[in-house]
Amino acid sequence: MTMREIERRLKEKAEHVEEALEHEIGHVEEMLEHELERPTVPRAAVAYGDVVYWGTILGSFITILGSVLAFVTELNFMEPELVLSAIWEGRSVDEIWQDTVGERPDGHWYLEHLHRGDGLTMAGIALGVFVVVPGMLVSAWLLLRQRQRLFAGFGLLASGITVAAMFA
């Protein structure tokens, strides 16, 4: 192999490396460009998601604790064996309450029975359901600060109707 051939081959290789590098740099630049274009998620959305997510997880742990209490102790508002048997038999909601407690409740009965297994279980489920209200309120407040008054209003209205449904 002559010196000229070696020189030519080296030059060719250097050109290939240069091309490959340029391609890679272009790719990285493109990625960075897109990264810069990645839209920021509104704080109102993140706050809503976080409040609801962690509230649901907390509600789940309370429900687990309540279920265990209901099954391994006799601290219950409604006797679990009677309730589950009545449900299995296909008895109506009215009959289930009549057979166990005497009458169907009207309101948030579980709040007076938080020390009992079924009361605590119901409270855990209710907490999981309720968390959308503080989630919407926090999110609406953040939307208000971003001068998104109309959508903050929708959030407040939605949370207001939900609270009204809790006490209707």
Binding site: R38, T73, V93, R104, M122, V129, T162
Partner: protein
């Protein structure tokens, strides 16, 4: 699986707590057997409910519907459990996978908070009216009311299954041709990062007034039957309001959780939601909702959708037959 446990420690804690709880309930049970069920049978019902609920949540997330669409018809069609109790528990099933998925969807910017708040108002109003109507129907019409619910739900399921079969017209990135005046004034324009395209996608919600009215109807049907409304929310957002499919699917879960959270209160305060029966269903939805959201990318959703369609058709037949049997007094021995 280990990677998932490392990434979501709260899921691991939750799973461990559930396993320990059910083991404790089996070993130290203070519940006595009755003429109807043994103590072991009661435990088995609760444990099976949790497993079935987890499965429903995973299938529902992969199929893009709320869990209520599977739970309520299957329970109404194949068990003797009271219809009001099934429908109230159905709302728990429909909402809890949506609640836990709100966090990841909102953090990723896939769910649009302004769109969700706009649509939440009509869906909540509809859902509360539907729940109230369900309680009134159960209190006034008894067995006839149950039969009517089964018959109507059977018909609705056939419609939903057909919608899935013919649902090929959904567009991933709809472009609004004529933005109406109200939509322009509300300015519901948003941008999200589309991972599959590695670029941002901008959209503008259109036809917000008809969309809002449709959500009122969806809320009523979901609240009345205890179905949730996942089967209808995505099509309304995508086909009517020109919202991209991915944003529609993510916003749908968040929206359903809000709508059902309002609809469930009348059931809770009137004692139509029994805590011990609903608890395993709620826990299964939380666990399955997190699992489903994370395995969604790795599984072919098309296959799950086919299973869902077959299940919906079979359940609808059973529901129509059971409803017709009670209402018209005949018997179909094969079903």
């Amino acid at each position: 699986m280990l990677e998932l446990a490392r990434r979501i420690p709260e899921l691991t804690f939750l799973l461990v707590a559930i396993v320990v709880a059910y083991a404790a309930m089996a070993m130290f049970s203070a519940v006595e057997s009755t003429e109807v069920l043994t103590a072991g049978g009661m435990w088995l019902i609760l444990a099976a409910s949790f497993l079935f609920s987890t499965l429903i949540a995973v299938v529902a997330v992969l199929g893009g519907v709320g869990g209520g669409v599977l739970f309520t018809p299957v329970m109404l069609g194949f068990t003797n459990v009271d219809t009001l109790l099934i429908r109230s528990t159905g709302l728990v099933v429909a909402m809890f996978s949506g609640l836990v998925s709100s966090g990841p969807f909102m953090r990723k910017g896939l769910a649009d908070v302004r769109l969700v708040f706009y649509c939440a108002v009509p869906i909540i109003v509809g859902a509360i009216l539907g729940a109230k109507a369900a309680i009134v129907l159960a209190d006034t019409m008894g067995a006839t009311g149950d039969a009517i619910v089964r018959l109507l739900l059977g018909g609705l399921l056939i419609f939903i299954a057909l919608m899935f079969v013919l649902g090929g017209s959904k567009t991933e990135y709809p472009v609004p041709r004529n933005l109406d005046g109200l939509s322009r004034r509300l300015g519901m324009r948003n941008t999200y990062w589309e991972e599959s395209l590695a670029r941002p996608v901008t959209y503008h919600a259109n036809r917000v007034l008809p969309g809002g009215l449709l959500f009122l109807a969806v809320g009523f049907v979901g609240g009345f039957f205890g179905l949730g409304g996942g089967w209808a929310v995505v099509p309304v957002l995508n086909l009517v309001m020109d919202v991209p499919l991915k944003v529609a699917a993510a916003s749908s879960g968040v929206l359903l959780a809000i709508g059902n959270a309002a609809a469930i209160w009348p059931y809770i305060t009137k004692g139509a939601l029994i805590a011990l029966f609903a608890a395993p269903w709620m826990l299964g939805q939380v666990v399955g909702g997190i699992l489903g959201a994370h395995i969604l990318a790795r599984i072919q959703a098309g296959f799950v959708r086919k299973i869902l369609i077959v299940l919906l058709f079979l359940t609808s037949i059973k529901l129509v037959v059971r409803g017709a049997e009670t209402l018209f007094g005949f018997d179909v021995p094969m079903l």
